[in-house]
Amino acid sequence: MIFDALIAPFIEFEFMRRALVGCLALSLAAGPVGTFLMLRRMSLFGDAMAHAILPGAALGYLAFGLSLTAMTIGGLATGLLVVLLAGLVTRATTLREDASIAGFYLISLAIGVSIVSLKGSNVDLLRVLFGSILALDDPAMMLLVAMSTGTLLVLALIFRPLVLECVDPAFLRSVSRAGGPAHLIFLALVVTTLVSGFNALGTLLSVGMMMLPAIAARFWAVELTGIIFTATLIGLVSSLCGLILSFHTGLPSGPAIILVAGALYLLSLSFGPQGGLVLKLLPQRHLEA
């Protein structure tokens, strides 16, 4: 019974196995990246970037048809371009980072929608925005896993400068020039994570895979390391449960996974030991010291 419900789908169907491997790899990268976005008060940045990668993905689709590899590489190229332009404008002018990113991602989104509507139909746009797990072929899965692995490795490399750039940027500037590059590389990692997610989840929902686990994890752990591990764990559980939910109910995989992650967030918000609502509402007497 439990076997039939939870394990059989993955044994019987190859596309389910591929989806599982892809989503688990994605969770491993998305948890840590999302944690930094949340802590830098950039939780909505992922959403902006999800729109920004549309023109590249659409061009890839127009040139090569429904090739996930082509759409991934196209999305990556436009995403990185937007991040780089926004980063340069932030450094060269008085515009704050959020404003300069808003400027470029909106242009990019308008171009993307124009491209899609010129040649394609709304169905194609929906596929780009919401993904399709059935379309995840072997090369696309290998690309996804490679990008997630690369993201994790690079994040590990820039970890110390990135943390210091978040906590005490003036100090970091006084001992090293690594702060600016670390921040730009981190923004690029957000793009690679988003793009690797859009095969399975679509551009819009792969943001959920980054942010929901990270935000939920804040209610369980105090220190950075703990938050990152909890976020990754929540991501892994959401991927597994979401795919099973999608298999049995016929829901698209992307929304199913994000709904599970959302449910885990609401649970954490209610019952989490670090500032969860239930603990806050319980009458508690103050401590001696």
């Binding site: 802590l39 943390v163 978040c166 906590v167 003036a170 100090f171 006084s174 690594a178 105090v222």
Partner: protein
């Protein structure tokens, strides 16, 4: 005469072409112990920031003796105290010159960090997060980080502002220890009594350098009065400085 650690030659620093520090020339000798004083808006913090290399000069030059290691503590350090790292990790960042961006902490390094915690009286606070500290405790932690930075030139911007008497005395004692170790100290301060009691040299700023030398010679009524008069408002319509074309 020894070579100066810092040589400021006709240095102008500012924001958006408006000078905050105007044509200042000075030499800072190795091992000197100097207070930068002056009214609000006199360019003290800007001068310190420039000495730290955090600001490019608008004109003039700032020379540093080669190989000088600088530690700079800005005023009300702009820390994100909600970021969830431990105090240990914040203080250990002072070892950047040993670890760089990638290197790990050896056992010896960890011992050095714990020793720094003891020296500032924060032993037992290693696992606290930054949001669980008072202002004085945070300043002690930043001093622990300065100890680990092991710098030749230590630049402190208002290190004793909004700090209670006990902490203030502890931190001052620590600054004097650094001076005794032969390090060069330059600190921006407001409290004239502390300057008179502890700092052998002073530099009085009022956008320009009013006086620089032994504290007793600098802190005269005449000099302080001139400094107050020389502070002018930031002028939107300011003309291009005439000294500029001459230099």
């Amino acid at each position: 005469m020894t070579t100066a650690l810092l040589t400021l030659t006709d240095l102008t620093l500012g924001y958006d072409r408006h000078p905050a520090v105007h044509h200042v020339s000075a030499r800072m000798e190795p091992g000197s112990f100097t207070a930068i004083i002056g009214p609000n808006g006199a360019g003290k913090s800007t001068l310190l920031k420039g000495m730290a290399g955090a600001m490019a000069p608008l004109s003039g030059t700032l020379g540093r003796a080669p190989g000088t290691r600088i530690a700079y503590l800005p005023q009300n350090a702009a820390l994100d105290r909600s970021f969830p790292i431990s105090l240990f990790d914040l203080v250990a960042a002072g070892l950047w010159h040993r670890t760089g961006a990638f290197g790990g902490l050896s056992h010896k390094d960890r011992d050095a960090v714990h020793e720094a915690f003891e020296r500032v009286g924060l032993q037992g606070f290693e696992r606290r997060t930054l949001d669980a500290l008072s202002g004085g405790q945070l300043q002690r932690a930043l001093f622990a980080r300065l100890i680990l930075q092991d710098a030749d030139l230590i630049l402190l911007d208002e290190p004793l502002a909004a700090i209670d008497t006990k902490t203030s005395a502890d931190l001052l004692a620590m600054i004097e220890t650094w001076h005794a170790q032969g390090r060069t100290i330059i600190a921006v301060l407001h409290d004239m009594q502390i300057v008179r009691d502890h700092f052998p040299q002073s530099l009085l700023m009022a956008r320009e350098c009013v006086a620089h030398g032994a504290t007793a010679d600098v802190l005269t009524e005449n000099n302080l009065g001139r400094a107050r008069q020389m502070i002018e408002a930031f002028d939107e319509e300011a003309h291009i400085c005439a000294q500029e074309s001459a230099s």
